[in-house]
């Protein structure tokens, strides 16, 4: 009895119907938090003493990097849940999480490059964290490419889940080894200006932005999963009924207008 919620969660139909209700709440909250954080960070927070206004890109860069890494674990855990409990829905979540995570990793790398030009004088350096992010992007691209390569949805999901798990085991090893590699080859010309203790006036909007990005991630994941559900379940009767209702609504409106 106590596991009923878990089994219900595995039903794509149940998720599709209920996520519409969650989104009605989640969307406005996420938009409000992100907008609030952006205004606070970009307009109200004080200017950095050394970097001037260019430091403000941190309000996009750091939350995106956070979610890029967290997104990989969300994807891998969803895949593991699919492998263990044979849950169709979690495979759909896994497939949806891959492109979102890859996009966030790309945003983190891109905003970092833009930020690097005024602060370090170059778009790209082989810094440990940057290199790790690049490898993370490759890991995401690998999972996506593997899923697109299979025609059978079942094989694509399971293969992607296994690759995600292998990546999960490897991520700490890759991060540690890249860290270690960087201390060996550290370029002498670059000095990191990020102070270990940020001023609270700058730090608080960053926290808001991180929370905002988590909410935004949840919204994006749910939306993506909903469209994936419709695509995979398009032959089931409930999706057909849903489509018929929609078409009926559109037709009714057209009739009403004319």
């Amino acid at each position: 009895m106590s596991w009923q919620w878990f089994h219900r969660l595995g039903s794509p139909r149940w998720f599709y119907h209920n996520s519409a209700r969650w989104l009605a709440w989640l969307c406005p909250i996420a938009a409000a938090v992100v907008l609030g954080g952006l205004v606070w960070g970009l307009a109200i927070a004080p200017e950095d003493a050394k970097q001037g206004n260019s430091f403000r890109i941190i309000y996009l860069h750091v939350p995106a990097s956070f979610l890029a890494l967290a997104g990989y674990y969300i994807m891998a855990i969803a895949g593991a849940v699919g492998l263990i409990w044979k849950m169709k829905l979690s495979y759909m979540v896994m497939k949806s999480a891959a492109p979102i995570g890859a996009a966030l990793t790309f945003i983190a790398l891109f905003s970092g490059a833009i930020w690097g030009k005024p602060t370090w004088g170059t778009y790209w350096v082989w810094d440990a964290r940057i290199t790790s992010m690049l490898i993370l992007l490759f890991l995401y691209l690998g999972v996506m490419a593997l899923q697109y390569a299979y025609h059978s949805i079942d094989a694509a999901s399971k293969a992607g889940a296994i690759l995600g798990l292998v990546g999960t085991v490897n991520i700490p090893i890759i991060y540690k080894s890249v860290d270690w590699w960087f201390t060996l080859h550290q370029p002498a010309t670059i000095k990191f200006t990020s102070a270990p203790s940020m001023h609270p006036d700058m730090f608080q909007p960053l926290l808001v932005m991180i929370v905002g990005f988590y909410l935004f991630y949840a919204v994006a994941l749910i939306l993506h999963t909903r469209s994936e559900i419709l695509r995979r379940e398009r032959k089931t009767s409930w999706v057909r009924e849903l489509l018929n209702e929609k078409n009926q609504d559109v037709a009714d409106k057209k009739v009403g207008k004319s």
């Binding site: 490898i135 490759f138 890991l139 691209l141 690998g142 490419a145 593997l146 390569a149 299979y150 059978s152 079942d154 094989a155 399971k158 293969a159 296994i162 690759l163 798990l165 292998v166 990546g167 085991v169 490897n170 090893i173 890759i174 080894s177 890249v178 270690w180 590699w181 060996l184």
Partner: protein, 227 residues
């Protein structure tokens, strides 16, 4: 039970070595690739031995990685095509042990020859004398890691028509720690530092790969066979 575990390992090791022996030309191609690419480096970079010596360790490692990547594609391909992979999957043996036998055969036919040829390439790229022993040790351990990790990628892509390119996409990020510690072993020795710590880490990576990769490869093969 113990004997059946061993027999699975040894039988598949022997079979794959025999197959490699009968297709000697095929088995030699990664080795030829390894040697040929090394002639491109002086042509593309510089024939000056001082500058070649700087990049020799890294270049030899990158070429060893690419040569392994090219050959690991075929690890399960012919078995998948002629149906013996399906026979393997329905045997009562534990699947990881025969796979470990196949991977060992792959290492013996690619990683080990690459390791043995590497002093010749070191000579051509004017690697400093103190780098030879660390290079041989690190390549022997490192190529084993590459074969083991590559087997997981090969298992996941065996049923795909154009799996080779995809395989390198999947496996390349996982190879990064191996190449970092492999080149570190050689550069440490050239710089006169103690080169055993990075080699020990390479050994740890090898131990972890031996334990985990056959399991992951077995999981991958079960999926691709069901497809």
């Amino acid at each position: 039970m113990a004997s059946s575990v061993n027999s699975g390992f040894l039988a598949w090791l022997r079979r794959d070595l025999l197959l490699a022996y009968r297709r000697r030309g095929e088995a030699a191609s990664p080795l030829v690739f390894f040697v040929m690419v090394s002639t491109l480096i002086p042509l593309g970079l510089t024939p000056e031995s001082a500058r070649l010596a700087e990049v020799a360790a890294g270049m030899i490692w990158v070429m060893a990685l690419l040569a392994t990547l090219l050959s690991v594609d075929g690890l399960f391909a012919s078995d998948y095509q002629d149906g013996s992979l399906e026979q393997l999957l329905i045997t009562p043996q534990l699947l990881p042990m025969p796979l470990l036998g196949k991977i060992t055969a792959h290492w013996l036919t690619t990683g080990l020859p690459l390791t043995l040829v590497s002093p010749l390439l070191g000579l051509m790229l004017s690697l400093p004398a103190s780098g030879y022993l660390p290079m041989i040790c690190s390549l022997a351990l490192g190529t084993a890691c590459l074969s083991l990790t590559g087997a997981v990628g090969a298992a996941l892509t065996v049923s795909l028509r154009k799996g080779g390119l995809l395989l390198s996409l999947l496996v390349m990020p996982l190879y990064m720690p191996v190449i970092i510690f492999g080149t570190a072993t050689v550069t440490y020795a050239i710089d006169g530092l103690n080169w055993l710590p990075p080699l020990a880490i390479l050994g740890a990576l090898f131990a972890a790969s031996v334990a985990l990769c056959p399991l992951a490869a077995a999981g991958g093969l079960r999926i691709t066979s069901a497809n």
